[in-house]
Symmetry: C2
Subunit: 199 residues, 2 copies
């Protein structure tokens, strides 16, 4: 059945879907009532048509500028730099940030051929230069992995060009609810080095 194989192959291209799950999904979709698959197709078409990148922060949006950039209550002097749009959602859920975002759309990975020009780094410089409210602080909130650290390091270096701009990195440490026994030694050494006075 070529058409089943083609559907399975298409599903296998999605991230985190192995051959086994692709087959399961294909069979589930075949078995679903027609309106269910029609709904899925319509949702995909609609999202593709409506959603694009915010021209200021490059988060996904269905407007010209995203709801954060358009919100007068957000602090325009602080930018939080993240790798992916999902990271914006995660930080918003935390409720710990009231500034604006800048989404890089990836992290530096020389081995995969991803250099600075593949990310929204030039756009970040331009944004800081031309911002109506002067940017006082850039928080580097890239992932705490090799690529994320390298990206943070690279950006910190680049941002030195802006006199008076404070560049910070989100804290690394022991996650809340974690068990010290089960935390890897690098995290633990970060947690120790980053210790603060007890208040």
């Amino acid at each position: 059945m070529k058409s089943l194989q083609k559907l399975t192959a298409s599903l296998k291209r999605l991230p985190g879907i192995g051959p086994k799950q692709a087959e399961r999904l294909a069979i589930f979709l075949l078995r679903s009532p027609q309106f269910e698959t029609d709904n899925l197709i319509a949702a995909l078409r609609e999202a593709k048509a409506a959603i694009h990148l915010c021209r200021q922060c490059f988060d996904f949006t269905d407007r010209e500028v995203c709801r954060f950039c358009a919100d007068p209550a957000r602090d325009r002097a602080v930018l939080c730099i993240v790798e992916e749009p999902q990271d914006v959602t995660a930080i918003e859920r935390s409720g710990g940030f009231k500034g604006l975002y800048h989404v890089l759309h990836g992290s530096l990975s020389p081995l995969d051929g991803i250099g600075p020009e593949a990310l929204r780094i030039k756009e970040l410089s331009d944004r800081i230069k031309s911002s109506a409210t002067p940017i006082a602080e850039v928080i580097l909130a890239t992932d705490p992995d090799t690529e994320g650290e390298a990206t943070a390091l690279y950006l910190a270096e680049q941002l030195k060009a802006f006199a008076g701009l404070r560049t910070t990195r989100i804290a690394h440490g022991v996650p809340l609810g974690g068990d010290l026994d089960y935390i890897d030694e690098r995290t633990l050494s970060h947690a120790l080095a980053g210790r603060r006075a007890f208040s």
Copy 2:
């Protein structure tokens, strides 16, 4: 962004896709080039249109009868009963079976309201009754879980109505390459009870 939420919600309805992976998939699809998502939509549409159930064994097929039922080289006197079309693929991969299949499309699960009438059991009886080649053996290859065992038991009971029909169950035991230490006691007791003379 309502359209992104709608797409994520649609993806979350797929089996084995949690809220986190649905979000990842939605963002991957938004980011994919248009032709990639068009290909996925076309593959889904095509498969939905082309594939239906074999009118004899209820496996998926894009012809009137499936390739197994249509193959004159297969042994028409032996039927292997499975729960799902994926099980047919798995048994074919094993190369251990040359008869025909009968796909139930589920297993008995009274708690979920799935009784015999929801499965292709009536069709199995009709098929045995009206088969041009008399059916000599029915192999019950339902899953080795509670529902699968209950289904096998139910079928074995029903099939007693056919005099001269042999009903068998696939062997339960230690999987090849398995480590005795790591195998649950029920499997092990099945493996012991089902022991055979060393040949």
